[in-house]
C-alpha cells in the first residue's frame, strides 16, 4: 500500500505532526510567520473532538495551553519572536510546575518587531535563557518540511516523557517553504503518552520522585486532587522555602533533561570521517551548508557537515570530540553569533570557529559558506 503524501508548507506539516502525536488542544494568538499552524488546527481539532481557542494575547495563549495540559490535554501553541518574548513568563511556569506542552516558534528577525516576514535564527538562545531562573531546555530545529512534521511528534513525546515544555523552532524559511511530506502510518512512529500515577488519589503527590526524576502527572478532573504552583515547591506540590528542598527540586528539574542528553540530542553527521573543516549548522542554513560542502568536496577540500537537530541540550559531547580532530569549524547562522558561542565553548580553543552571520532577512547562501570553508588553512 502506498503511503499518503501531500505537498505542504512547514507550518502545515507542524500542525499535521501535532495531530499525529495526539494533540487535542491548541491555544494561540495570530502572529506572522506562524499563523498557518493555528489555521490548520482550527479546522482539524474540532473534527476529532479537540479544542481550539484563539486567546486575547500571547501570554493568555501560553496560560490556556498549560491549563489544558493540567486537565489532561496534549497541548500546542505556536508563535514567533515577539510572541515568544511574551510567553517566556509562563514558559518558566511550565518548567517549574513541570507541565508538558509544545511551543512551536517560527524564527523571524528581531529584536522587537524586527522583520516579520523575513527569516532568522535568533531565538535559539531565548529557548534556553529566555525565561528567568534555571530550568531545563529542550529545543528542536528542523531543516525540512518532513522533518518539521516528525520533530513536532518527537517534541510531544519528549514533553510527555520529561514532563516539561518543549520548543520546536524552525526558521521562517523552513516554516514557509513547501515540500512533499510522506505521512507515516498509524503506529509507525511511536507516540508516547503521559506517565500517569499508579498510586491511589489519597497517596498521590504531583512531584513524587520515588520512581525517578520525572514524577507521574495526574490530570485535573480524573479523580486526583492536588496543588500546582509557580512557587518553589516540595514533592507534595505545596510551596516551600526550605533550602535543601528547593535546591534538590531545582537540580532535579534540570537533571531530568541533562542526564538524558543521549536520548534527546539528535544530530546528523555528513562526510565527517576525514573532514578537516566542519560546518556546524541547523535549520534551513544547514541546507546551504550541505550544498557548499558538496561543492568543496568536488574541489578536493575535505569538508563535512555537523547538522544540529536538537539545539538544546546542545550536542556538547559531539562538538568536543570533533574539536580535537579538525582544523576549523564554520558556523553559518541567521543571527549575529549564537550557535557559534556554543561551538566555541565546546571547541575549547582546540580549533578556530569562524562565523557567518546574517541578519538582513536573506538566507545564507552556499557561496558564502564555500568561501569561508576555503579560509580554513
Amino acid at each position: 500500500m502506498s503511503k499518503k503524501v501531500a505537498f505542504l508548507q512547514g507550518n502545515e506539516a507542524a500542525a499535521q505532526g501535532a495531530l499525529y502525536a495526539g494533540c487535542n488542544f491548541f491555544g494561540g494568538y495570530p502572529i506572522t510567520p506562524s499563523t498557518e499552524v493555528a489555521e490548520v488546527m482550527s479546522i482539524e481539532l474540532p473534527k476529532i473532538g479537540g479544542k481550539f481557542i484563539q486567546m486575547e494575547d500571547e501570554i493568555g495563549a501560553m496560560a490556556v495551553v498549560l491549563g489544558a495540559s493540567l486537565a489532561g490535554a496534549k497541548a500546542l501553541t505556536s508563535t514567533s519572536g515577539p510572541g515568544l518574548s511574551l510567553k517566556q513568563e509562563l514558559i518558566g511556569y511550565g518548567c517549574i510546575a513541570e507541565i508538558p506542552c509544545v511551543v512551536y516558534n517560527v524564527m523571524r528577525g528581531g529584536p522587537s518587531t524586527g522583520m516579520p516576514t523575513g527569516p532568522s535564527q535568533s531565538d535559539v538562545m531565548s529557548a534556553k535563557w529566555g525565561t528567568h531562573g534555571d530550568h531545563p531546555a529542550i529545543c528542536l530545529t528542523p531543516a525540512s518540511v518532513q522533518e518539521t512534521y516528525e520533530e513536532v511528534i518527537r517534541a510531544f513525546n519528549l514533553s510527555e516523557k520529561y514532563r516539561t515544555p518543549v520548543f520546536v523552532m524552525p526558521d521562517e524559511i523552513v516554516a514557509h517553504m513547501r515540500e512533499r511530506v510522506v505521512f507515516p502510518e498509524k503506529g509507525e512512529i511511536e507516540v508516547l503518552e503521559r506517565i500517569s500515577p499508579t498510586v491511589t488519589p489519597d497517596a498521590y503527590k504531583p512531584y513524587d520522585t520515588s520512581c525517578g526524576d520525572v514524577p507521574p502527572l495526574a490530570a485535573f478532573g480524573s479523580g486526583y486532587k492536588f496543588h500546582v504552583t509557580g512557587l518553589n515547591k516540595a514533592q507534595d506540590g505545596f510551596p516551600t522555602t526550605k533550602a535543601e528542598l528547593v535546591q534538590a527540586e531545582e537540580e532535579r528539574q534540570v537533571r531530568k533533561v541533562d542526564a538524558n542528553v543521549d536520548d534527546i540530542v539528535h544530530f546528523e553527521e555528513y562526510l565527517l570521517d576525514d573532514a578537516d573543516v566542519v560546518v556546524v549548522a541547523y535549520g534551513s542554513t544547514s541546507r546551504s551548508a550541505r550544498f557548499a560542502v558538496n561543492i568543496a568536496r568536488e574541489q578536493g577540500i575535505k569538508a563535512g557537515l555537523f547538522r544540529i537537530k536538537t539545539f538544546w541540550p546542545f550536542p556538547d559531547k559531539q562538538i568536543k570530540a570533533l574539536a580535537g580532530k579538525v582544523k576549523g569549524f564554520i558556523v553559518p547562522e541567521m543571527n549575529l553569533g549564537m550557535c557559534s558561542l556554543e561551538v566555541e565553548r565546546n571547541a575549547q580553543g582546540k580549533a578556530p570557529v569562524l562565523g557567518i552571520f546574517r541578519v538582513d532577512g536573506e538566507p545564507i547562501n552556499p557561496d558564502q559558506i564555500l568561501a569561508k570553508i576555503k579560509e580554513v588553512k
Binding site: F25, G27, I43, P46, K47, G49, K51, I53, M55, E56, D57, I59, G60, A61, A63, V64, V65, L66, G67, A68, S69, L70, A71, G72, A73, A75, E89, L90, Y93, P201, A219, F220, G221, S222, G223, Y224, K225, F226, H227, V228, T229, G230, L231, F238, P239
Partner: protein, 272 residues
C-alpha cells in the same frame, strides 16, 4: 451543629498567611459554605488563582487547585474548562491581580461568557508587595506609591465585568459574611461567566495609611457604604452618594463558551 469547615480545609496547611484583621478568611469561609451547599465534588472542582494575598486561598482548600502567575488565573482556568468542561472551575484573586496585570484576561473571560465563577476580593491595594495603589484604590487615597494621594480614578469592577459581557455580576462585602456564600452559590449555579466582587479591608497596608484607627472601623465602613440593590431602588441619588450597591447587580441568560464550542465540534464533524 456548627458548620464543619475542616471538611474542605487541607490538613496541615493552616495557619494561613493573612494578617490579623484581614477579611480574606471570611471570604474563604463563605466559599467553603457555598461549596458545601452545592455539594461540589472535590475531584471535580478546580480552584484557580493568580498572585497576591487573595490568590493564596486555593492552597488551603482541598480540591484541584492551581496557583498560577500574576494576573493569569482567568487564562489558565479557561484551559482547564475547555479541556474538561464538566469540571466546576472557580477563580479567586485580588483587585490588582484581576484588573491590572490580569485585566485583559479578565475582560475576555467575561466576553466569552465561559462558564466559570470569578471571586474578586477587592481590598483596594496591592497588599502582598506592601501597599502600592491598585486600579481600585480610590482617588486621593494613600498608598506606598501614592504618598501625596492617588491621582488615578479607580475601576468599578462590577461595571467593568458587565460592560465586558459577564452574564452574572454580584457584589458583597467581608462585613456581610452571611451573604457571601449565597452570592457564590448563585454565581456557580449560573451558566456563563459569573463575577462576585467582595469588598474587603487591608488594615496592614491600606488602613493605616488612610487614617483608619482599627479593623473594626474598616469593617464598619463596609457596613455603612453597602446598600442592597433592592433598598437602593427606594433611595434618592443624594442618599446614594458614596454608597456601594450590593447583591446581584446583573444577570442575563446567554450562550456560554464551552457549549458554543461543542456546537463548533458538531459542525466540524458534520462537514467531515
Amino acid at each position: 451543629m456548627a458548620f464543619d469547615y475542616d471538611k474542605w480545609i487541607r490538613p496541615g496547611k493552616l495557619p494561613h498567611i493573612w494578617c490579623p484583621g484581614c477579611g480574606h478568611g471570611i471570604v474563604m469561609k463563605g466559599l467553603i459554605r457555598a461549596f458545601e451547599t452545592l455539594q461540589l465534588k472535590k475531584e471535580n472542582t478546580a480552584l484557580v488563582s493568580g498572585i497576591g494575598c487573595a490568590s493564596r486561598l486555593p492552597g488551603y482548600i482541598d480540591c484541584c487547585t492551581l496557583h498560577t502567575a500574576h494576573g493569569r488565573a482567568a487564562a489558565f482556568a479557561t484551559g482547564v474548562k475547555m479541556a474538561k468542561p464538566e469540571m466546576d472551575v472557580i477563580l479567586v484573586g485580588g483587585d490588582g491581580d484581576g484588573t491590572a496585570i490580569g485585566g485583559n484576561h479578565f475582560i475576555h473571560a467575561c466576553r466569552r461568557n465561559i462558564n466559570m465563577t470569578y471571586i474578586i476580593i477587592n481590598n483596594y491595594i496591592y497588599g502582598m508587595t506592601g501597599g502600592q495603589f491598585s486600579p481600585c484604590t480610590p482617588t486621593g487615597h494613600k498608598a506606598s506609591t501614592t504618598p501625596y494621594g492617588n491621582p488615578d480614578p479607580g475601576f468599578d469592577i462590577a461595571k467593568l465585568a458587565i460592560g465586558a459581557g459577564a452574564t452574572f455580576v454580584a457584589r458583597g462585602t467581608a462585613y456581610h459574611a452571611n451573604q457571601i456564600d449565597k452570592l457564590i452559590v448563585e454565581a456557580i449555579q449560573h451558566k456563563g461567566f459569573s463575577v462576585v466582587e467582595i469588598l474587603d479591608d487591608c488594615p496592614t497596608t491600606y488602613g493605616r495609611r488612610n487614617k483608619y484607627k482599627s479593623v473594626i472601623e474598616m469593617m464598619n465602613r463596609l457596613k455603612e457604604v453597602a446598600v442592597p440593590v433592592k433598598a437602593a431602588e427606594k433611595m434618592s441619588a443624594e442618599q446614594l452618594e458614596g454608597k456601594v450597591l450590593t447583591g446581584i447587580l446583573y444577570k442575563e441568560v446567554k450562550p456560554d463558551y464551552t457549549s458554543e464550542y461543542a456546537k463548533v465540534i458538531e459542525r466540524a464533524q458534520a462537514a467531515k
